[in-house]
């Protein structure tokens, strides 16, 4: 999952493909992440369709369909817009975030029922995004320098050998730490474990399908399981497009209301 593609989940920042395994072995974990960021920034903007499947502990499912837009600006500002398409009672709801390097994010929510755009505090980013196991923070966009990294070991996930990298936030706002299993063959994460601020295991993300789109390895299917609540959210991507020339004004109240 791409930071700027679908503004979903910072764990992608820990995991994007590098030039090759031998080079990665010679790099520090931070250098790996920085390299990933540089690769991510190949695309200036992106658009994709997203399906979220919410599964509760009894196994019943609810489905959310969204369109996701993202853009990286030259000054390091990252912008993202999510627009809900289904179900009917949330259709037209949109979420806009502007992420500034070294500053608090700005976030807005548009609810069609109120017909007003509401600025929301980014201090609440650790909260669940629309009932999913992803938080607003996960759905936003992040900066690598907010974390320190450590290579723990190498081990298999399924039949894929992986590097295991621990990311510890410099300031424990949302997570205590995140451990990523990075596939050695393509440097895409296969698994990510999230720990809460008290150090307890919180949730696990499994990335089960990857596609190369316009030369960029893109996770297309993710399954986030919250071990504390026994709930799961699946995210499926489709119709992913990079570098489509989204203008800056796309990431404003005007397009939140327009819904596309």
């Amino acid at each position: 999952m791409r930071l700027y593609l679908v503004p979903v989940m910072f764990f992608i920042a820990f995991s994007m493909a590098l030039a090759g395994p031998c080079r990665a072995a010679q790099m520090t974990p931070y250098q790996i992440m920085k390299k990933s960021e540089d690769l991510l920034d190949q695309a200036k903007d992106s658009k994709s369709d997203m399906t979220m499947i919410l599964i509760n502990k009894r196994g019943s499912k609810r489905v959310r369909e969204l369109i996701s837009y993202g853009k990286n600006l030259d000054n390091g500002v990252k912008k993202a817009l999510l627009v809900f398409k289904a179900p009917a009672d949330v259709k037209g709801t949109s979420f806009l975030s502007w992420s500034f390097p070294g500053k608090e994010d700005k976030q807005w929510l548009y609810l069609p029922a109120l017909a007003r755009v509401r600025q929301i505090s980014s201090a609440s980013k650790g909260d669940s995004f629309m009932g999913t196991e992803f938080s607003y923070y996960d759905m936003g966009r992040h900066h690598l320098d907010d974390y320190t990294y450590k290579l723990l070991r190498e081990e298999k996930v399924g039949d894929q050998m992986c590097y295991v990298i621990e990311a510890t936030p410099k300031e424990k706002k949302y997570y205590g730490k995140v451990i990523s299993w990075i596939r050695k063959d393509n440097f895409i994460p296969a698994r990510m474990d999230f720990y809460d601020k008290n150090g307890r295991f919180l949730k696990q993300n499994m990335i089960k399908k990857i596609e190369n789109i316009q030369g960029i390895n893109t996770p297309m299917y993710m399954e986030m399981h919250n071990v504390q609540t026994n709930r799961t959210t699946i995210i499926k991507l489709s119709n992913v497009h990079y570098n489509i020339g989204l203008p800056d004004r796309f990431f404003t109240e005007r397009y939140m209301k327009r819904g596309r």
């Binding site: 919410l54 179900p87 009917a88 929301i120 505090s121 201090a123 909260d127 669940s128 596309r260």
Partner: protein, 501 residues
């Protein structure tokens, strides 16, 4: 829907229900054409004894949108309701009209919105029936005066639903400096009130049934008349301009509105009939006919609003200055002026004079009275709101105040005490079970009138499409001539089941 009319009426609503019960009728999206909506059944159970009972009501909303690609879209949102209203036999079609305050059709259909959007590089245009949303506060927006509201159920449902779409033209012009919204409403669309027989008709708009005078009690018969709309010409149109700018984290706007005051204002004239029953003893009978009619006044509003986040909170603010706003004077005060001994003597003297000048033929005479029922004042209304979101908990509080300049205590007006009216609102919402269960409380407290409205509720989503709500609506107030206090016998339990498609 506020009285028992002897059983629910079916008609077209149920035909639509039947059609929609077919699996083939579920929402679809075909080549840019989308079709959404909901079907809702509602029940009301009044808590206080003695208030009218209500039938089940049904609502069907259909929202059709045609995406016209990068240059625009076309949308029609229809709302059909079967709610057990009083029916005027002269009604020939079910569509609510844009020229009446008292809408008495059942079933009724509203064009909530019906417009075409045209997008260009630097501007968006919207032409058709539309709703505007200005300001930053919730439910009470001092700067938001472009749409009137459907007040047939007082403050229910929420403001965005109560708003009546107006045929209008809107232009949103975007520049690097600021964004400008220009709205033009060629013809005022009146607010809606329930008919006087209904449960939510405001008691403060009802004249007394008897006037106590020095010569005895005088019976009053009230006649409710509908509004006279201003002539359809350019000078009677309404316009609004709002300029918005994002400044270092602050979303800010300034606005101007020139149009008709969307607040209900009722004026009354009175015909006093004096009839000589017995010429030998000069025994007379006096009756009064009161004619109550909505009245319009133009208004200018200068406003600004802002919002920003401060730590974990979102701060919202809104201010409006009203130049030349009319207020309704209190009935009791008007009656006191109109029923003085001097005025009664003046009428009787005129009656006797006419009687004798007519050769004792005019034994029944009508005197037309046009009391001064309004006060024109400059005023301002402003408020602040604070939101806090933590986990699945949402908390929002607001403080809103209205201040009337040069308030004359000897001529009191409704809904304001000594020139000030202060309201606090609170909204608490807690989500459970992945947002499927919502428990909340909405409340409002009026300081000067010691009145409050409480709405505790529980909503549960059985599926993505099916949602049920149970809500209590508790209204209380020390004074029966206050906004909420006048409905203190209207407590009710509200149940609804909504199927979205």
């Amino acid at each position: 829907m506020k009285i028992d009319h002897g059983g629910p009426k079916l008609g077209i609503i149920f035909i639509l229900i039947w059609i929609l019960s077919s699996p083939a009728a579920y929402a679809f999206n075909y080549e840019g054409l989308s079709f959404d909506g909901h079907l809702e059944s509602r029940g009301i159970k009044p808590i206080n004894s003695g208030t009218p009972k209500e039938d089940m009501s049904y609502e069907l909303e259909l929202d059709t949108e045609r995406d016209l690609g990068s240059w625009g879209k076309f949308r029609i949102a229809l709302r059909a309701i079967d709610d057990g209203k009083v029916i005027d036999p002269r009604n020939k079609h079910p569509f609510n009209t844009f020229n009446k305050v008292y809408q008495d059709r059942n079933p009724s259909i509203n064009f909530d919105e019906a417009y075409i959007d045209i997008y260009t590089d630097r501007a968006d245009f919207r032409l058709g029936i539309q709703k505007f949303a200005w300001g930053r506060l919730d439910e009470i927006n001092p700067t938001d005066n472009l749409n009137t509201q459907d007040l047939t159920e007082f403050a229910f449902p929420e403001q965005s639903v109560r708003k009546i779409g107006a045929p209008a033209f809107k232009a949103d012009i975007y520049s690097d400096l600021f964004n400008t919204e220009i709205a033009w409403i060629p013809r005022y669309v009146p607010y809606r009130l329930p008919t006087p027989e209904e449960r939510w008709f405001p008691p403060i708009l009802k004249p007394p049934t008897v006037v106590h005078s020095s010569s005895g009690d005088i019976p009053v018969t009230t006649h409710y008349e509908d509004i006279d709309l201003p002539a359809f010409k350019l000078s009677n149109s309404e316009i609004g301009i709002r300029i918005s700018k994002y400044i270092k984290g602050w979303d800010t706007s300034i606005s101007y509105f020139s149009g008709y005051d969307p607040t209900p204002l009722i004026t009354g004239t009175t015909d006093i009939t004096v009839e000589l029953l017995d010429p030998s003893s000069f025994k007379t009978q006096i009756k009064t006919d009161a004619y109550v009619k909505p009245r319009l006044h133009r208004l200018q509003v200068f406003g600004f609003d802002f919002t920003n986040t401060i730590g974990k909170f979102t701060l919202r603010g809104e201010f409006a200055y009203y130049a030349g706003k009319y207020y309704s004077r209190k009935t009791e005060d008007i009656m006191r002026e109109e029923t003085t001994k001097e005025k009664q003597k003046e009428i009787m003297d005129k009656f006797m004079k006419n009687y004798f000048e007519s050769g004792m033929k005019e034994s029944r005479q009508v005197f037309h009275m046009n009391p001064d029922v309004e006060e024109k004042k400059n005023s301002m209304k402003y408020g602040l709101g604070l939101d806090y979101i933590r986990g699945d908990t949402n908390l929002s509080v607001q403080w809103i105040q209205e201040y009337i300049f040069d308030y004359d205590k000897s001529r009191p007006v409704y809904l304001n005490k000594n020139g000030v009216d202060t309201t606090f609102t609170i909204s608490i919402k807690q989500l459970y079970l992945q947002d499927t269960l919502e428990i909340g409380l909405d409340g409002m407290y009026g300081v000067e009138f010691r009145q409050y409205l409480l709405k505790p509720y529980v909503t549960y989503s059985f599926t993505d499409n099916l949602k049920g709500t149970i809500e209590a609506r508790i209204l209380q107030g020390r004074y029966t001539d206050s906004a909420i206090g006048q409905f203190r016998d209207n407590d009710e339990v509200y149940l609804s089941m909504r199927y979205s498609f």
